[in-house]
Structures are given as structure tokens and as C-alpha cells.
Amino acid sequence: MNNPQLNKNGELQHLLSTEGLPARILRDILDRAGEFVNPNGASEVRKVPLLHGKSVFNIFFENSTRTRTTFEIAAKRLSADVVNLNIGSSSTSKGETLLDTVDNLCAMHADMFVVRHSTSGAAHLIAKHVAPDIHVINAGDGRHAHPTQALLDMFTIRHYKKEFHNLTVAIVGDVLHSRVARSQIHALTTLGVPEVRVIAPKTLLPTHVDKLGVRVFHDMQEGLKGVDVVMMLRLQNERMQGALLPSAQEYFKYYGLTQERLALAKDDAIVMHPGPMNRGVEIDSSVADGSQAVILPQVTFGIAVRMAVMSILAGN
């Protein structure tokens, strides 16, 4: 089966998932992102003309402020023309199909689509459908993948830890519904992290999560012991329905990240979160605002990583 993300030369054609991408492509993206960040970690605000004359369409079938905004900023810093469409509230509610919407936008001479959709596989469907000179970036599809989030997480880890091959990384929370977790797991294992752990109650883990190459922990204390990186996941409020969890309080009591629990990790462990955070549900405020948290740098790096992905795609 052909990898739908690569062109015939083995270069990145679309960014749909971190799964199935060779480590060299992941590293290229991180290296390129490094060029958009100055050495002390602050992002370079200078504008570069790499996407001058190109049109980037942000098509969001699902609400998002943060991700859409960072993509918009990234595209503008690359000098692209950016069009934002919140389709959740327009065409599809009038009965237009996903591919009809895409065809219409192609007719407006889009060069790149940034797509978010509530159903797994939506970005793959669009990538299969569009003309070969159009690039698709998956900005989150259902529970499947959110590759730019995972890449900015990898960038953050590399920034603070330098290497991947000597790390133990724990992902904590609702892995079952998380596209972020799936993309993180594939990126971490591809980049050579020897031990990736997931920590959650059984109701928040996919049945066959071990097949993704992770160690499974249900006890947070056990799972956090000696880790270098703690990656928290957001707990959606609706998880209290559907009999997945009894209450936010009980969840926090057993799976919330507190100072005491974080003390079980290595002293120099970093704490990450894809946002938006639920303080007091999955993470205690003292940790979120504490010295080990790198949550705001993640956001800053997110712009550089998205610039990197867009510029690499535009060059292929």
C-alpha cells in the first residue's frame, strides 16, 4: 500500500499523521522549525517570503481557536494569503458534502488546505481527492491524528532534552478519544524514545493500545516513576457521560497531576499539555504554573513547527 503522505520521490506531499513517516522526515521538520526560532527559545517574528503568492485555506469543520490561530499566524509569517473558513456553521449544515466544499475551494485556487474535522479519516479522504499540486495538512481528525501538535511536542522535548534515545515519556489521560496521544505515540517511537508509557483508567484506553508499542499503567504513581517527560491530555467534560468516569473529582484524585505525584518523576522532568487545560481536573494549578511546566513554550514552538511543515510542503 502506498503511503498517501509521500510523493513518488519519498518526500512529504501531505501531513496527515505521524504514523508511517520516516524519522528523517520528522527530523527535517524539527530542524526547519529550529530555523524559525532563535537560540534562547523565543520565536523569530520576522516575516519570510517562502509562501509568497500561495493561498492557504484553513477549513475547520470543528471549532478551534488556538490551532486555527497558530496556523494562521504561521502562514502569514511565511507571506501566504490566508483564508479562514469555519464550515461547522455554514455549508455542511446546508447539506453540502465534505468533498463538494473542497472542490469549491480548489476552484478558488487553493495551494494548501489545513483541515480539522470531527471524523477520523477526513484529512485522508481530502488528500486522496485533491489534485497532485495541492497539499493537505491535518489539523486534527476525530480520534485519529493531530500531527502538528505531536511535532511541536517533539520540538519542545528536543529543545529541553536534546536527545530522544535516552528518554522515558509518560502520556497521561484520555488516550481513547485523543488524536493528540496517537500522534505523540507514533512520533515518539519513530524518533527512538525507548519507553513510552500511557497512564489512564481502562475506560480511557483503546482496547489494543499496547499494539502501539507503549507500556500501559493504570496506577499513576507507578507510571510516573523516573520519567523525563510528562505529557498531559485534556479531559473533555462530556466524558462524565457514557459511563466512562464517575466524576471529575475522582479523576483528579487518582489521575490529576499534582506536585506530589510530579515529584516521582525525574527532578528535571518537564510537564507538557496540548491545551486548553482544565485546572483541577487533569492538572493542578501549581504544576501548570510551576517551574517544570513548558506549556507556554509549546504554544510558541507550535507556530515555528507549523511554519516548517508549510514551507517543506510548499517546496516539494
Binding site: T97, L98, A122, L125, G142, T207
Partner: protein
């Protein structure tokens, strides 16, 4: 018309016959096997040298989409597909719009099918009104109108008391109850087997327990009521084990599997191929191996196409939003031949799964080539190879997971009641 089918390899599983014989047909019936009846004068001779002559295929699950879903398929298109696939009898599930819950609807369907005169249609009646799982249909009236069994198709029947009553009522008259076992709570919103692929792709899962729990309920109530129970579209290894044990126990139960599940697994979903969005979901390799073993040892009685034509618009959607189903009537024979070749199953044995066995599931005296039987016949070239090209399919449904696959075995003639209804 009097027809002589000359020099073909006759395969008739019912009569244990696999030999080169001539077949003689007169007035829609088989009048001679091997030797011509006295005074027989063929008006047409079909040269079947190198071809296999078998009973017309019987398919226990083919959706024709009428009434109500004519934009997906029509009787005309799907009958043409059936005979192109050598199928001369098919059973259609009741999940039309409206469902087959009224005798008038069933009569209309039979009437329309009869006028087309291509393939026999045996409607499966709705077990409950509107397939809603609450009130029993008029099963006796529906049987008079032509229904051969009663089923919920893929609609849930969550109220076990209604299911018990439905089985009791059906058992009173000796009607067959056909159920596809799937617990609707465990399967809710699910689109793929709860396995490695659903985990990777983030697809809402359907666990094997959805099948085994519903199967256990159905078998237990069959035990209570003595109803003639048929299990539709078995998909899991655990399910095969349960049916095997139930048969050993002497329970009056039979079952079928779709050809898709004999050949494919969850891995075929690849990168969200909506053509592999099927119900029940494609399961693991271990499940597929168990289904094949169940076919070999007789636990599974029949292979069906589970023909479910879907319009393109309903498939050009993200996997989970795409409608489940695939076209199948024209692929059934080839996929059974492929299975037989892969598993070294003699044709005599393999072809019983699409002839005499399904005929018996419908309670019909057909699916064989005995003297005096209706001349429903499929003549195919076992050596012919062809590639599945959706545009070339007669079915209005063009979606199939086997798109581009090389197939073996090509139907050359299909006869219904001694009339050639298809030829290529």
C-alpha cells in the same frame, strides 16, 4: 425450449455428482442427465466443453433496495447483476423503506420480480413492525404473501421479551427466524472491529462481545422456544465456537457468513478505505481463519454475498460517516472458487455452500440438478480470469473492497426455468 447442455463438467453437490455429463432440459425442467430422454430433440445445444455446469446459485442475503432506496439500486439493475453472477435465487432482507412488514409490500416485490423473469426472489419478512423491535408483524399473512423467514435485518431488537415472543410465535407455525447477532449497546456508533486497526485509526470500535452476547441470547431463547433459528453473517472466532457447540448440542440452528469475511480482515481498511466499511465489521486474521474452519467442518452452512449496493455519495465520506455495505452478487461465485482453491476444498463440497445448503435454509426444493427439478443452472468457465472493474459491474452499486482484484471463474450462461437469462 428443449436445450441440451453438452459435454460440461456437471457438479451437483446434492447428488454427489462431479462428472462429465450432458444435461437435457425441456419445458423448464431437467429431463435427462447423461442420456437423452426418448425422442428428445434439442432446439438449442450449449457447448459446455471445459465449463462447469452447476445448480443456479442461491444467495441468502442480497439487498435489492426496493422499495424506497431506488437511488441506490433497482430491481432491474440488481436482477441483471444476479444473473451475471450465476445467481438464480436470492433472499432479500426486510430493511427496505418501508420495511417488508406488510403483505401488500411483499406481494408487490414478488410481482415486480416475477415480471422481470430473471431470478427468483424470496423476501425475508420483518420480524417486528417497522423493524422497531416492539410489535410482531403478521407472520402468517406475510408467509402467505411469500416470505420465507423473518428477520430484523441490521435493526436492533433490544427488548429480549419481544424476541422471546417473536420466537414463540414463529415456532408455533414453524416459521424460520433469522438474526444477525449484534448487541446494540456495545455496537453503538461503532464502525470497525475493536482491534489493532481501530485503535490506530481512532475508529469507534465494535467488540467481539457485541456478537457473542447477542448470539448467546438468541441461542438461549431458541433453546427455550424450539424455533428454527438461522444466524446471519457470523464474523468472529468466538461466534463460530458458540454455533458449533449449539449444533453439537442438537439445537435447531444454522448460520451463514458473507464472502467478504471469508477473504478480508480489518487490515484491508488500510488508510480508511470506506469500501471496507461493512456490517458486521471485518475482524482479525484469527477470526477469518476460524470462519474458514467453520465452513470446512460444516458449522457454517452457507456463504452469501451480503450484496448491499450503496450510492457513491454515501461512500465518498470519511470512513465512519460512509454507509456500510458493498456490492457482491457478481463476485460471489469467483470468491467461493478462490476460497476453495486457497483451502484445497473440492468443488463438490465448496459449491454446496452456494447451492443446496442455502436452498435448504430457505426451505426450498432447489439448488440441485435432479431429474425433474427446475432447470435453474449456472454454467461457468473455471479457468477464466478477470479483473474487478466497478464500471463493468451490472449492479448499480459500484463499491466493493475487491476493486481491482483478479478473480477466477466467469459465468458464461445462466438459465432460469430452462430459459437462458444471461449469456456472455
Amino acid at each position: 425450449m428443449d436445450i441440451q447442455i453438452k459435454s460440461g463438467r456437471l457438479i451437483d453437490p446434492q447428488n454427489g455428482l462431479d462428472a462429465q455429463r450432458d444435461l437435457y432440459i425441456s419445458e423448464g425442467r431437467i429431463v435427462g442427465i447423461g442420456d437423452a430422454p426418448k425422442g428428445f430433440k434439442a432446439e438449442q445445444v450449449i457447448d459446455a466443453q471445459g465449463l462447469v455446469v452447476m445448480p443456479g446459485l442461491v444467495d441468502v442475503a442480497a439487498r435489492l433496495r426496493e422499495p424506497g432506496y431506488e437511488y441506490k439500486a433497482t430491481l432491474e439493475s440488481e436482477m441483471a447483476a444476479a444473473v451475471a453472477g450465476g445467481v438464480t435465487s436470492l433472499a432479500c432482507p426486510p430493511d427496505t423503506d418501508p420495511p417488508l412488514d406488510e403483505p401488500g409490500l411483499v406481494e408487490m416485490l414478488k410481482h415486480r420480480a416475477r415480471n422481470l423473469n430473471q431470478c427468483r426472489v424470496f423476501p425475508i419478512g420483518a420480524l417486528t413492525y417497522g423493524l422497531k423491535g416492539a410489535e410482531l408483524t403478521e407472520m402468517a399473512e406475510l408467509t402467505e404473501a411469500g416470505c420465507k423467514a423473518f428477520s430484523q435485518a441490521d435493526a436492533p431488537l433490544t427488548d429480549t421479551r419481544v424476541l422471546l415472543r417473536a420466537m414463540q410465535y414463529a415456532a408455533t407455525f414453524g416459521y424460520r427466524v433469522w438474526l444477525r447477532p449484534q448487541d446494540s449497546f456495545l455496537a453503538k456508533n461503532g464502525v470497525a472491529h475493536d482491534g489493532e486497526v481501530a485503535t490506530r485509526l481512532g475508529l469507534p470500535p465494535i467488540p467481539v462481545a457485541a456478537e457473542t452476547i447477542a448470539l448467546s441470547t438468541a441461542l438461549q431463547l431458541a433453546r427455550e422456544t424450539g424455533v428454527t433459528l438461522h444466524i446471519c453473517r457470523l464474523s468472529s472466532a468466538a461466534g463460530v465456537d458458540m454455533v458449533r457447540a449449539a449444533k453439537l448440542e442438537g439445537l435447531n440452528v444454522t448460520c451463514d457468513v458473507s464472502m467478504n469475511h471469508v477473504h478480508l480482515t480489518e487490515m484491508d481498511i488500510g488508510f480508511f478505505d470506506a469500501n471496507c466499511h461493512l456490517m458486521p465489521p471485518l475482524r482479525s486474521q484469527r477470526d477469518r481463519a476460524a470462519l474458514r474452519a467453520g465452513l470446512l467442518d460444516g458449522t457454517i452452512d452457507a456463504i452469501c454475498s451480503n450484496h448491499s449496493p450503496v450510492d457513491d455519495d454515501a461512500k465518498l465520506l470519511p470512513f465512519a460517516e460512509a454507509e456500510a455495505g458493498a456490492t457482491g452478487l457478481e463476485l460471489l461465485l469467483s470468491l467461493v472458487l478462490k476460497w476453495a482453491e486457497q483451502e484445497n476444498v473440492p468443488l463438490l463440497h465448496a459449491l454446496s455452500r452456494i447451492s443446496i445448503n442455502p436452498a435448504q435454509l430457505l426451505g426450498q426444493k432447489m439448488g440441485h440438478l435432479s431429474q425433474g427439478a427446475h432447470a435453474d443452472i449456472c454454467i461457468f468457465d473455471p479457468e477464466a480470469r478477470w479483473r474487478v472493474a466497478p464500471a463493468a459491474l451490472k449492479s448499480q452499486g459500484k463499491n466493493t473492497p475487491f476493486n481491482g482484484y483478479e478473480m477466477q471463474g466467469r459465468v458464461r450462461y445462466t438459465l432460469l426455468d430452462g430459459q437462458i437469462v444471461f449469456q456472455q
